[in-house]
C-alpha cells in the first residue's frame, strides 16, 4: 500500500482538463489518478455532499425517517459487541454517521466514543443528550485514518455501514490494524454484494431494452469470501465473519430510490451518468414489480450485511498448538 500516495502525486495534472465533459453536477472532480489507480471507484466529494444534503433535507426529518436500516444493523452489531467480555476506555466509531451504533453504547461497555465522519452535517445531526457515554466528534476523511489517530493507540475501532464507500478497502483495513493497540478489536458491518440486487437487475434490464446499453447505478460491493481474505491479508487474527440479510418492503421502486437518497446512499461511482431518462426509470419500476414484486403489490429490497470481527495480533492471544504436540488421543475421545 505504501507506494500509492507516491503514484498519485506523480500523475500529470493537465489530464484533468481533457476529462471535462458537459456542465453537469459540478461536484465531480474525477481524480486524475482514477484511470491508472484501481483503488479509485467512488467519488468521495460527491458522497460527502450527498450525505450533507440528505441530512439537511426537510431540516433532518427525512434523514431520521430513513434510519431504519442503519438502526437495525447497529442493533445487531451491538449484540456482537456484547458477546465480547471486555470493558473499553475509548471506542472509535469510523464513519459513524449521526451515531447509530454509538448511541447504543452503554457506560458498562465504554467510557467514551470517538465518532469520525466525513460529512459534517451528518456528524452533528443528533445532540449529545442522545448518547449514554461521552462523545467526541471528529470531522475528517475516513480514508485517512492514520492522519487522525496515531499508530498503536486504540483499544477498539468499530464501523457500522460506512466502509462500502471507502475506495481502498484493503488499505483502510491495514490502517485500522495499525491504529489499534496489540490485541485491539475491530468490529464492522458493511453492505455485501447481494445488496439491492433487485434494483440493480431491474435497472439493467430497463436500460438494455430502452437504451441498448448499461451503466453503473448500484455500487460494486464486497463478497463475503473476500472479506475474510482481506482481513487476514491486513494482518488481523481470530477472525469472525458472518452474513445476514435485512429485507425491507416498499410500495414501489420510487419510494426505495427516494429513501436511499435520504440515507445519503445515492450512487457515487466515478464516471456514473448524472441523469436517467424518464422512460428508463418508468420501465425499471415496471420490471422491478413484475420480476421481484410481492403478491400484495409491494416490492422487496434486500440489504445483505457482512459482519466482521478481527483482532490485532498480540503475544497473549491464544494460538493453535504445534502439530503433534497434543497429549490426548482423539481416538480415545471419540470412542
Amino acid at each position: 500500500m505504501a507506494f500509492l500516495p507516491i503514484l498519485r502525486t506523480r500523475l500529470p495534472r493537465q489530464c484533468r482538463l481533457s476529462l471535462r465533459t458537459f456542465a453537469s453536477e459540478s461536484s465531480t472532480t474525477v481524480p486524475a489518478s482514477s484511470i491508472n489507480n484501481p483503488y479509485q471507484v467512488f467519488d468521495r466529494t460527491a458522497k460527502r455532499l450527498q450525505k450533507d444534503r440528505a441530512v439537511s433535507r426537510d431540516t433532518g426529518v427525512r434523514s431520521r425517517t430513513v434510519d431504519y436500516v442503519r438502526d437495525e444493523v447497529a442493533d445487531r452489531m451491538m449484540e456482537r459487541l456484547m458477546d465480547i467480555k471486555r470493558k473499553f476506555d475509548t471506542i472509535v466509531d469510523l464513519g459513524s454517521g449521526p451515531g447509530h451504533f454509538s448511541k447504543l453504547l452503554e457506560p458498562e461497555k465504554t467510557r467514551k466514543v470517538v465518532m469520525i465522519e466525513s460529512s459534517e452535517q451528518t456528524l452533528n445531526r443528533d445532540p449529545d443528550e442522545d448518547f449514554d457515554v461521552e462523545v467526541e466528534r471528529l470531522h475528517a476523511d475516513e480514508e485517512k485514518l492514520l492522519d487522525i489517530v496515531p499508530c498503536n493507540s486504540q483499544e477498539a475501532i468499530v464501523s457500522c455501514l460506512s466502509l462500502q464507500w471507502i475506495n481502498d478497502l484493503p488499505g483502510i483495513l491495514v490502517q485500522i490494524r495499525e491504529a489499534l493497540q496489540p490485541d485491539g478489536l475491530f468490529l464492522a458491518a458493511v453492505f455485501g454484494g447481494d445488496t439491492l440486487f433487485e434494483l440493480r437487475t431491474s435497472l439493467q434490464l430497463a436500460e438494455m431494452d430502452r437504451e441498448g446499453g448499461i451503466s453503473p447505478h448500484v455500487s460494486p460491493m464486497t463478497d463475503t469470501k473476500d472479506i475474510s481474505n482481506l482481513l487476514s491479508r491486513a494482518g488481523f487474527n481470530l477472525l469472525t465473519v458472518d452474513v445476514d440479510e435485512v429485507k425491507v418492503g416498499y410500495p414501489s421502486m420510487w419510494e426505495l430510490v427516494e429513501d436511499l437518497r435520504d440515507m445519503g446512499e445515492s450512487n457515487s461511482v466515478i464516471g456514473r451518468r448524472h441523469f436517467m431518462h424518464r422512460d428508463t426509470l418508468a420501465a425499471a419500476s415496471a420490471i422491478y414489480k413484475e420480476l421481484h414484486g410481492n403478491e400484495d403489490g409491494s416490492i422487496p429490497a434486500t440489504f445483505q450485511i457482512i459482519y466482521m470481527i478481527g483482532w490485532k495480533p498480540a503475544p497473549t492471544q491464544p494460538k493453535p498448538l504445534e502439530r503433534g504436540t497434543a497429549q490426548t488421543n482423539l481416538k480415545d475421545v471419540l470412542e
Binding site: 441498448g212 413484475e290 420480476l291
Partner: protein
C-alpha cells in the same frame, strides 16, 4: 407536513412515479411481463410495442 404533502405530488418526477404505479399500472404490468418472458436475452427494443403503450399512457396522464 402539509406543505410537504402538496409538494409530494407536484414535482414532475413524483407525477411520473404516481402515474406509473397507479393510472398506468395495467400497461406497466404488461410491459414488465414482456421483459420477464425474455429477460435471459434482452436486446434493445425487445419490448418496444408494450413500452409504447405504457409510455403513451404516461404521457397522457402526467401532462
Amino acid at each position: 407536513m402539509q406543505a410537504a404533502k402538496t409538494q409530494a405530488t407536484s414535482t414532475p418526477l413524483r407525477q411520473l412515479a404516481l402515474h406509473s404505479t397507479t393510472t398506468c399500472s395495467a400497461q406497466a404490468s404488461a410491459y414488465g411481463k414482456c421483459i420477464l418472458a425474455t429477460y435471459t436475452d434482452v436486446k434493445k427494443d425487445v419490448c418496444k410495442e408494450e413500452f409504447e403503450k405504457f409510455g403513451q399512457c404516461l404521457r397522457t396522464s402526467v401532462c
